[in-house]
């Protein structure tokens, strides 16, 4: 993360449309002031203010990790802010949970839909407030009510059909219908068009405009900037948990928005002696790697001593490519060559044997066995090499793992400490330390610094540089573009399952990468 000295960056916060004229006009339906939220040392939101007015669409944009999801969750009562106030209809309020927010008419339509596929469409719409007669569910009223709602939303769906039979578009509409039943005033939509086809998007927009005309307010989060300029009345741009711009959307261009989203300062995190190693002997060559419906025809190389970044929006398929290279997911087609040798990778075991190792995205669920010690976790993939016969030679294992954890400066009372008690940064070091002895050809690091404090981050960057200097190839996935710009020699960009660009890191800009990742601009 870039250094965040309070107050240094100039922010055009809440110009023009603001809280000034309150009192004369109707107060905003939902108003946030000074919202701050941090997770174990990482600030996700800092002093965020936002007003959502009746009958308007308020777009929320920002890069991955800018704080949009956190902000949505705060608005919907899923997360409680550390400080700041929330007001509904001008009255300050404290949400204790999502149920509180729903009671005040705030509906979250999440990206991952949380509905019951085995129940009917009608039941899903009325879940928790089923019409009753004499203590039993009044099925007739239920179906009639749901039918009317669906018709109003333009969905030709039988209310009695099972929800699971329908695609994401209908499920989306059902969530919105649910909001209407609950007498919703504010609808928060998280990337609602991500899984929809064009005609479905058209219909969704019609529904949203209809909602808007009835006086509801919409908070609309999307990466598709062209949608925003057409639909929204106001736009708020988040960056690093701060509101960096808030304006009326009339006349705004996509380019202006992208410019506001980027602009974090980039620093080189370590100095590489000599210039970028791009062009050296490749340690990894991938061609035509395909997993149908997930990623398509991905091909690239990573040179010895080269640090290659993999950029893209959430859902672009970066993690999926990494998992496939590591043998965690099957592929439908493609060739993988490590140090000139064609390899077949069907399990992580194969990948490790071939010289490909992965530091996974979710270190707690995928990287570590939390109740085992640092030592056990580091030794896990190479227990065999510490064994005599079936028995583990405890002393040798300890000496070795101690060395590895010292090299990465894991801070813990001893290597016998359970990793579950360590801080996130130290846990990440343990996952990385695990692979050092193998001297693999390629390290894949998926979000290696997520949720880690600045100091440990820089240590991990240094280690990445060291690994490359020793001749390994490093493939880094990160949602933080400045990070990639700071540590990589070359950056690959993915969009919707395809590799759409490769640029040298020292000449490119955040702006250029983001444009490729979002598919805006000329391409």
């Amino acid at each position: 993360m870039t250094p965040m000295t309070p107050g240094t960056p100039k922010r055009e916060r809440e110009e023009s449309i603001g809280s000034g004229e309150r009192g004369t006009v109707r107060p905003p339906l939902l108003s946030l002031r000074g919202i701050t939220k941090s997770f174990t040392g990482v600030t996700a939101l800092s002093q965020v203010g936002l007003d959502v007015h009746a009958g308007t669409v308020h777009a929320l944009v920002g890069e991955n990790g800018a704080g949009k999801s956190t902000l949505m969750k705060v608005m919907a009562g899923v997360l409680q802010p550390d400080s700041g106030t929330i007001a509904v209809d001008g009255a300050a309020i404290r949400f204790h949970g999502p149920a509180d927010a729903r009671r005040r008419g705030i509906s979250l339509v999440p990206q991952e839909l949380s509905l019951m596929p085995h129940l009917s469409v009608a039941e899903n719409i009325y879940l928790g407030c089923l019409p009753r007669r004499a203590g039993l569910v009044d099925r007739r009223a239920l179906l009639r009510g749901a039918g009317e709602l669906l018709e109003r939303l333009g969905a030709r769906v039988s209310p009695a059909s099972l929800l699971g039979e329908h695609g994401p578009a209908v499920q989306q509409l059902v969530m919105i219908a649910r909001g209407i039943v609950l007498d919703g005033k504010v609808y928060i939509l998280d990337e609602p068009t991500a899984a929809l086809t064009d005609p479905e998007i058209e219909r969704l927009f019609a529904v949203l405009r209809e909602l808007q005309s009835t006086g509801a307010a919409l908070v609309y989060v999307s990466h598709r900037l062209n949608e925003i300029t057409g639909l929204a009345d106001e736009v708020t741009v988040l960056r690093d948990g701060h509101v960096v711009q808030h304006r009326s959307s009339s006349g705004v261009t996509e380019d202006e928005l992208v410019r506001a989203m980027v602009g974090r300062s980039v620093e080189r995190f370590f100095d590489r002696p000599g210039e970028p190693r791009t062009g050296s002997e490749p340690v990894l060559t991938v061609s035509g790697l395909t997993r149908r419906g997930v990623f398509e025809d991905v091909g690239f190389t990573v040179g010895a001593g080269e640090v290659v970044g993999l950029a893209g929006l959430v859902g672009a398929g970066r993690t999926e490519v990494a998992r496939a290279l590591f043998g965690a997911d099957p592929v439908d087609a493609g060739e993988i060559t490590v140090r000139g040798r064609r390899v077949r990778v069907r399990t992580p075991r194969d990948a490790i044997a071939a010289g490909i190792v992965l530091v996974p995205e979710e270190r707690k669920s995928q990287g570590l066995v939390l109740n085992l010690s640092i030592s056990d976790n580091i030794a896990l993939p190479h227990l065999r090499s510490f064994a005599r016969g079936p028995f583990v030679r405890t002393r040798r294992l300890r000496d070795h793992t101690k060395q590895a954890s010292e090299r990465l400066r894991v801070k813990a009372p001893s290597v016998s400490t359970p990793v579950g008690t360590l801080s996130g940064g130290n846990q990440q070091k343990v996952v990385l330390a695990r692979w050092l002895t193998r001297q693999p050809a390629l390290y894949i690091l998926d979000e290696p610094t997520r949720g880690i404090d600045v100091e440990v981050k820089s240590e991990i960057y240094r280690e990445i540089g060291r690994l490359a200097d020793q001749g390994a190839g490093v493939l880094v996935i990160s949602s933080e573009l400045p990070e990639l710009l700071g540590i990589c020699d070359r950056i690959l960009v993915m969009r919707q399952g395809r590799l759409v660009g490769a640029v040298p890191a020292h000449t490119t800009t955040e702006h250029e990468i983001l444009e490729m990742a979002m598919g805006t601009g000329i391409s």
Binding site: T347, P348, P381, S405, K411, V415, S416
Partner: protein
């Protein structure tokens, strides 16, 4: 960052091999934190019955608990391996293995033992394949094999106990090595080997890792399917061995044998401190669990408590011991408060039973 940030790097000189051993020992103790409970049972038993703490009585208790003890060792591995692991089939498999062994008594001692072990291993393999390659839930698969193995035992024995007379077999029931009855030696050896495997071998380390976090183990290149399959096979093998011991003790193979033993084995494992969620536990803990339950039942026998009351009391012991064993997962006061409604309900039930009905 943690408070140790300025102390720099990790292991000081103190954290040498000794403290590691200490820590291991302590964690074994904590996991099987029931050694105090065992001591309590022994103290109470000694006070209430003069016959309790005598060599013949203890020897008898241990001899009888050898069968359940073996099943509990296998059960420990299966539960430890995580993924909802449980083996409900072991009681039935013990009976089936005993019957198959009896059918092969014509081939002598070796034939009997090999046939029984092979039967056990086969059912274990079926369980393991069901759980790994077929991706079925362990509860369902082993529930099915519980039924199947019992059916096999009845079918092969025509539902009549088979008298077994194999030279040397009775040595497994009545023999004595260095003054210790053979069944106890076998159980002791199995406990020792099991503990050694879990704490010292590559296999054991992998098992703890998979039980603690299967995905992380998979991402470390561990063949989780094969590992998981192996624990079911071992559990089946131990059930086969238990079948041999049972046949030796009774001189008959009975298709009815071992009904409900799987539950006794599971109870011993949880009383021994292993959570059903896997990743934690030890064979020593399970050994202590077996002892607590066996000694308690023996004490109730000595006190002439009627068998129905015994059932109730044994169940209560399992609940109370496991509830107390949950320390470390919540603060002590929270534990007591959270347990209160449960204890109140149990006490109310007891009052109703004895004074109202």
């Amino acid at each position: 960052m943690t408070t140790t940030a300025d102390s720099g790097v990790q292991s000081g000189p103190k954290a040498g091999g000794r403290s590691d051993t200490m820590r291991r020992a302590r964690s074994v103790f904590a996991n099987s934190g029931m050694i105090p409970a065992l001591a309590l049972v022994i103290v109470i038993g000694t006070m209430l019955s003069p016959a309790f703490l005598t060599a013949p009585n203890l020897s008898n208790v241990l001899r009888i608990s050898a069968v359940v003890g073996l099943l509990a060792i296998g059960q420990t591995l299966v539960i430890l391996a995580g993924g909802g692991g449980i083996d409900l089939s072991v009681g039935s498999v013990t009976a089936a293995a005993g019957v198959v062994g009896a059918l092969y008594q014509g081939y002598g001692l070796t034939g009997t033992i090999v046939a029984a072990l092979a039967t056990g291993a086969f059912f274990g393999l079926v369980n393991g394949l069901g759980v790994t390659t077929a991706r079925l839930q362990p509860f369902i698969v082993t529930l099915a094999t519980l039924t199947i193995a019992r059916g096999v035992a009845f079918q092969l024995s025509n539902a009549t106990p088979i008298y077994v007379s194999v030279p040397g077999l009775d040595y497994l029931a009545t023999g004595v090595i260095l003054g210790i009855p053979v069944p106890i030696v076998i159980l002791g050896a199995a406990l020792l080997v099991g503990q050694l495997v879990l704490s010292r071998t590559v296999y054991g380390r992998k098992l703890y890792a998979m039980g603690g976090n299967e995905e992380a183990a998979f991402f470390s290149g561990i063949n989780v399917n094969r590992l998981r399959l192996s624990v079911y096979v071992i559990s089946g093998l131990l059930a086969g061995l238990a079948g041999v011991l049972a046949t030796a003790r009774l001189s008959t193979a009975d298709a009815n044998f071992g009904t409900g033993y799987e539950l006794a084995a599971i109870a011993a494992v949880v009383v021994g401190g292993a959570p059903l969620t896997g990743g934690r536990g030890s064979i020593l803990g399970t050994g202590v669990g077996v002892l607590i339950i066996a000694l308690f039942e023996n004490l109730l026998n000595l006190l002439n408590v009627n068998p129905w009351t015994q059932l109730m009391v044994t169940g209560l012991i399992v609940i109370v011991v496991v509830a107390l064993n949950r320390k470390g997962e919540a603060g002590p006061d929270r534990r007591i408060w959270k347990g209160l409604p449960l204890y109140a309900a149990l006490v109310a039930g007891a009052l109703l039973l004895f004074f109202v009905l």
